[in-house]
């Protein structure tokens, strides 16, 4: 066998799709910023609309990216960011702060700490209990158990909570962008996480074929696993502390991005970028709907992402079943 020739195999159409997505994302953000005349009052625009739209984009992108990373880490196309208990940990910490009557900014920090503590625990479990050639789904199962435990604690805290704080807490737990983005945490975070994730792209592709195969082609599997967990954890923690538990974005967006990309020769770097862009666009659109649907009342955006995402994914899965009755991969 001869030495393979090294060459650039990004097809031109892959580049076209990436730029189209960038353009569409920009258009959607501009549209969300300008709709219903927010631009006429500079105060509303700068203090409410801009932070909220950018936070929506950032949270959507973070969740989609975290979902992608976790699906690669757990080798499970149905993994989503909250499966490792980050959202439950954040909710639990936030509600403790609410019961204590802390200020809003402190609550946001507390939510971040809650998510990080849970993910650190998962990281320790990963280090301690998984072996390279072994199955890593134990981490997934422990994450689900930990979530269940924390959710029980959350319910107790909800009962203890003063009546007037209850509504805010419920909104937060359903995922809500009202008042989000004051410090542009998610907006800056999503680009930071993307920059940190891009160098891992080829290692992630190899790891998705299996830990042993990745090891055999020269990937330091345990190191990359820890990097993935920390990066997905960071992204989830930022998203959760900004907007609460926005469901389904982290599951649906990577699923469709991968499906879209695999037919068009878009590599893992492109998939990461598309996850951020499409996740951001989805959440910005969903938040626009959440504000408009029952105006002047606002819905929590998390309700809408589930209302859009769940039927969409169900339709996809059923179509797949019909095309290939024997089942198969997602």
């Amino acid at each position: 066998m001869s030495n393979p020739t090294h060459s650039e195999n990004q097809q031109p159409k892959a580049i076209v799709w990436l730029w189209t997505s960038v353009f569409v994302a920009l258009m959607v953000v501009c549209l969300a910023l300008s709709v219903d005349g927010a631009y006429r009052s500079p105060e509303i625009f700068w203090q409410l609309r801009l932070p909220r739209v950018l936070a929506g984009f950032g949270v959507g992108g973070l969740l989609a990216l975290a979902g992608l990373l976790l699906q690669a880490l757990l080798r499970n196309p149905l993994a989503e960011p909250y499966m490792l208990g980050a959202a439950s940990g954040a909710s639990f910490a936030l509600l403790i702060g609410t019961v204590m009557g802390w200020a809003w900014w402190a609550l946001q920090g507390l939510a971040f700490v809650g998510a990080v503590v849970v993910l650190t625990l998962m990281w320790w479990l990963l280090r301690r209990f998984t072996r390279l050639e072994g199955d890593i789904s134990i981490v997934l199962l422990l994450g689900i158990l930990l979530s269940a435990l924390l959710n029980a604690g959350v319910n107790v805290l909800l009962l203890l909570m003063p009546e007037r704080a209850l509504r805010g807490a419920l909104f937060w737990m359903m995922g809500d962008l009202a008042g989000a983005g004051q410090h542009y945490l998610a907006w800056c975070g999503v680009w930071l996480c993307l920059i940190l994730a891009l160098p891992l792209a080829s290692k992630i592709s190899a790891l998705m074929r299996g830990a042993l195969i990745a090891h055999a082609v020269g990937v330091s599997v345990q190191k990359v696993r820890v990097q993935l967990l920390l990066l997905a954890g960071l992204a989830t923690a930022i998203a959760v502390s900004e907007a609460g538990a926005v469901g389904f974005v982290g599951l649906v967006v990577p699923h469709f991005v991968k499906l879209f990309s695999t037919r068009r020769g878009i590599g893992m770097r492109g998939v990461m970028l598309l996850c951020v862009l499409w996740g951001g666009v989805l959440l910005v659109l969903a938040d626009g709907l959440a504000r408009a649907l029952m105006a002047p009342m606002q819905l929590p955006v998390g309700v809408l992402t589930i209302a859009i995402g769940a039927p969409f994914l169900a339709w996809q899965l059923l179509a797949r079943m019909r095309a290939n009755p024997a089942g198969g991969a997602l």
């Binding site: 393979p4 390279l132 080829s202 592709s205 195969i213 055999a216 020269g218 330091s220 997602l330």
Partner: protein, 241 residues
């Protein structure tokens, strides 16, 4: 330097359970080894150890003169390719992309060329999960072959013919004979051994029962002891019960 792989007092364990007692073993350039033994005797565990998966025995295994514990995973991977016994694919991905994901630097044309070698060219754009068992196994061959460069010195194969029909078996056996690098393959069909191997490592009863050239190990009394049944070898070299 002629010695490619050297094991010094290598013992194979799974968890705390000892599978193979400490043994010495040397694989030289140009040798093709068949690893034989009953189910569960530790053939796959041995290959995993040679891959450097088990941290406890990395310092007992020398690749090109250096212990695995002193070689980075990348440095090992440059010298060594691996065909796994199983490959599950939970994700929706095409055959060509699966090959590409383990060799991101090679061209699309080279991927197609390697797929052609293993009869998968017309499946390049098919989903991996739609392949038959034999096709999927040949995909793992392609994923190894695409990584072979001039620096490749060793190929490890874990039951590489188990899902192949008789035509592909004979073709793949011939393919192995033509390779320049040394190889170590676990096999179950004793009659495949003469078709590709120059040497045999025979595992039985928790130890290396015999090792050496094919003619020395593939004798009916040795094989009968290893497998616990009476095995006969006819004049043409065919093994039968």
């Amino acid at each position: 330097m002629n010695t490619l792989l050297q094991c010094q007092q290598l013992s194979i364990r799974v968890g705390q359970k000892p599978l193979i007692a400490p043994f010495d073993w040397q694989v030289n350039v140009g040798e093709r080894w068949a690893v034989l033994g009953q189910n569960g005797v530790g053939k796959t565990a041995l290959l995993h150890a040679l891959l450097g998966v088990d941290g406890r025995c990395r310092s007992n295994i020398y690749l090109s003169g250096l212990p695995l514990s002193e070689l980075s995973v990348q440095a090992q991977a440059q010298q060594r390719v691996w065909v796994p016994q199983r490959y599950d694919e939970p994700f929706t991905i095409t055959v060509a992309q699966a090959v590409h994901s383990v060799a991101p630097d090679v061209s699309a044309a080279y991927v197609l060329k390697q797929l052609d070698v293993f009869g998968l060219r017309e499946h390049a754009q098919a989903w991996v999960h739609q392949l038959s068992g034999g096709e999927r196994q040949r995909l793992t061959w392609a994923m190894a072959a695409v990584r072979v460069t001039d620096a490749t010195r060793l190929c490890l194969l874990d039951e590489p013919f188990s899902a192949q029909d008789i035509v592909w078996q004979s073709w793949l056996l011939q393919y192995l004979r033509e390779q320049k690098h040394a190889l170590i393959a676990t096999v179950h069909d004793l009659n495949q051994v003469r078709a590709f191997a120059t040497h045999v490592l025979l595992l039985a009863e928790g130890k290396v029962l015999a090792q050496g050239e094919v003619v020395d190990v593939m004798r009916s009394e040795v094989l009968s002891e290893a497998f616990g049944v009476s095995l006969h070898i006819d004049d043409a070299g065919w093994v039968f019960v």
